[in-house]
Subunit: 492 residues, 2 copies
């Protein structure tokens, strides 16, 4: 018997007062473990502390990241495209645009999103920037005008409430590098404290590091992010913008000791974010504070072999180095983005959705996004059901782009194949080949679907249009009772 879509044969009416036992959400704590201090980029100081935004004592709610590099520290960011932007987003965008892609510090708080807080919200975000600026050593490169700021600000948590700004200011002051109360450091403990200061409903701190080489010189990259729900970002580079406020979910910060020009740092980040943070979905909800920052301080050159020439990474003057950096940044951003899906609210599965042989990359990305946000696909994944019918239906609901001559491109159902790829390296299970349903071994399907990790591959069988391959990957999780519990019951 072919695989059957029993949806419409399900018992018709809901019984009253059914009691269900929630499938336990698997522990995620093994996704966090110590990292050797030598893996962290040079020239940064970090910490996290409890300043009193969150009620529970000792839980970090304020994080600080300072670049101490004597070289120029460039910065780039991707901010949410949501119309309603929180005060910290507007302020960070302003600082970054005004400084032409430079910044030397990041201040982050959790527990309060500083959103829908009007003028006071903007004033508070600026106060956080100014106070953090004071922690920075005065820089020789700085023109030191009164107008210049060096700090980017991130907030996440409750909306509609003002920040307890005096507690935050006191917290920032306690970290003055020369003071005895400062816990700023560049070891695992400092990085972990900072990562914890990002957390809200996250069940583990999300911290990763990697090293890479360009032209024989070794560089380091490390970063943290946070997010568990309201995850379906769509972020772009900063722009001049006006008004607006709301609240945040996805925040990330990547730091490297490579020297990268401002412009190239932004273009590499924009590319990386599209293929990482803009390719994940927990619940299809684009938030209003989603922000990913990257700082590049060039500090690697101070510790590297003086015989090796450290060349600025730039798309025009050092194309080869730029391509390596872009690839490393993209892979690292994907690692961080995946951690958010791992920690998705109520998630019991981690699913990679690959769409290939689409006419263009944006088409592949749109189809992968639709499959990854389909409530029917996600409940089927929760139910460990190889329901390719729902995958096909979601695929077919996406309009594709037009051909160069303006004719809308269409999927030919007779060329579409769907395959479930197990995470353990065993044989893939084709469920639809060229539009024809396969005779599916249900026991084998179950074997693949009971695992936490799974890949769904949809091959559209279309010709490539243009230069870029029509292949996109998306990462998503399942839709569980627990998601409804977290988001439906939290105020009761």
């Amino acid at each position: 018997m072919s695989l059957i879509f029993r949806r419409f044969m399900a018992s018709a009416s809901a019984s009253s007062s059914t009691t269900i036992t929630l499938k336990p959400t698997p522990s995620k704590s093994h996704h966090h473990s110590p990292i050797p201090s030598s893996s962290f980029p040079k020239g940064y100081l970090l910490t996290g502390l409890h300043c009193g935004i969150k009620k529970k004592p000792g839980i970090p709610d304020l994080g600080l990241i300072l670049s101490t590099s004597p070289h120029q520290t460039t910065a780039a960011a991707c901010f949410t495209k949501n119309t309603f932007k929180a005060a910290p987003v507007l302020v960070s965008e302003h600082v970054l645009v005004k400084n032409g892609g430079k910044a030397r510090a990041v201040v982050v708080n959790s527990g309060c999103a500083n959103a829908v807080t009007g003028k006071q919200g903007l004033k508070d975000a600026w106060a956080m920037v100014e106070e953090t600026d004071r922690l920075l050593p005065s820089s020789s490169e700085s023109t030191s005008s009164d107008q210049e700021h060096h700090t980017l600000v991130l907030s996440t948590g409750v909306i509609g409430q003002n920040l307890p700004i005096s507690k935050i200011i006191a917290g920032i002051r306690s970290q003055t590098p020369s003071s005895t109360t400062s816990t700023l450091s560049n070891d695992f403990a400092g990085w972990e404290r900072a990562a914890r200061a990002f957390m809200t409903t996250d069940t583990f701190p999300k911290l990763r590091a990697r090293t890479f080489k360009i032209g024989g010189v070794e560089y380091r990259m490390a970063g943290m992010d946070k997010g568990a729900g309201m995850i379906h970002p769509s972020m772009g580079p900063p722009r001049a913008s006006a008004g607006g406020q709301l609240h945040a979910t996805l925040l990330g910060c990547i730091l490297t000791d490579a020297p990268v020009s401002s412009k190239s740092l932004q273009s590499a980040l924009t590319y990386a974010v599209e293929r990482s943070f803009n390719s994940i979905s927990v619940d299809g909800e684009m938030s209003t504070n989603d922000t990913i920052l990257v700082l590049a301080n060039g500090a690697a050159q101070d510790s590297s072999n003086a015989a090796l020439k450290v060349e600025e990474i730039d798309e025009e003057t050092n194309k080869e180095g730029y391509e390596v950096f872009k690839k490393e940044l993209t892979e690292f951003a994907i690692d961080l983005a995946k951690l958010v899906v791992r920690d998705g609210e109520g998630a019991t599965k981690f699913v990679t959705v690959t769409v290939k042989n689409a006419p263009t990359y944006p088409d592949a990305h749109r189809v992968a996004s639709r499959i990854s946000t389909s409530a029917l696909v996600k409940t089927a994944l929760y139910g460990e059901d190889a329901n390719w019918g729902r995958i096909l239906s979601a695929t077919g609901s996406v309009p594709l782009s037009s051909s160069p001559s303006g004719i809308p491109l269409e999927i030919d159902p007779k060329k579409v194949s769907v395959t479930f790829i197990p995470s353990d390296g065993s044989s893939p299970l084709p469920v639809l080949i060229n539009g024809e349903p396969e005779k599916v071994d249900e026991a084998r399907a179950k074997e693949i679907l009971v695992k936490e990790d799974l890949e769904v591959e949809v091959d559209l069988g279309m010709e490539q249009v243009g230069e870029e391959e029509g292949l996109a990957r998306y990462w998503t999780c399942d839709f569980s009772y627990e998601y409804v519990r977290i988001n439906g019951d939290y105020r009761s």
Copy 2:
């Protein structure tokens, strides 16, 4: 204290093996009640019967609708825009296009969607059409070529299985009007039997009737639809199309005894479907067999006062009559569409989302659609939580259209207002006025939100661009544990 968005303050980790008691889904049976036979349009015969597609004896799984009018019966349809179309969709589209907007019968089956069934599926759909054609009295207007068919076909149910076609053919034959086994009639019993033959996971048959007058002549309109999950249709008029198959969820059929030209019947239906069936969402899932049909047989003229001139309803020759008909058809389609949302899988709420003062109707429709499909908005509705933050966030994630000069239009957050409107006629509750959060009386909010019915109004405060008002209504339901149970557990 302002309304708080506690999302990020929810307890961080899911407890293992939590047991929850599902809130009972309210009974929907009161949405079905007898209709006087005089309300049904003249010149139709209907029935529903059990032919053996469904296993349970006695449950209708085959429905027939015949026009017996001596006048021309025009027909129009909107079919799913999904790439993967089931065999009955392809066949009905073919019949309708070939006949230039005429058809005199509809055959529908439930229990099997005849989707992903390849060539056999198409053969079976054609067999249903041909067998039903034989039930029709030979028509004087018919040119009776061997190629001409008069029947449209609808299927819904399991996919990947072939129809038990011999049982269906026997069932159709048993309804030959002259035979003793025929149960075809034009009374409530006949209409109700037909409506029941559409049902799958529906908990009640969805049947409505109304009368209306044009130029002093009374006309009738009645119809049925079905659907409970995989509901987020996007349907358009028929077109020549190739290949493809899958499965169905939303089916509807509207019959009237008004005389309407084929072309105007299609344009009125296209308008009506956009504002009714294309404005509902249960789970954001566009299906692959979604079909709405309308037949107009002109039979009213035989029973009306001979002194009154019965004029064909046509957009060009009888503009006034056409406008009345379009309005009646739209209102009736909205009534039928709302029944589907009422019966949404696991739904405990019926929510009207109104977006006003958008620059254009499509903008208003897109924003309303996004709010209506937001998992966070829908779980908040289930939790009876006046969570305007999630509504605002969904609103802000929709890109609007461009101004006539090509500049993308943008929402000004300082002009946006959100109001909860209770269903009992009591005072509306503003929660956000011109971007400023209101001090919300939580007890009053709870009073409104515990009710089954609720309206959410989002005022974008923008200038109208173009001729059409930027106002759209969408109907949606909440997202409950029961939805996850129905769609995650149905195969286990």
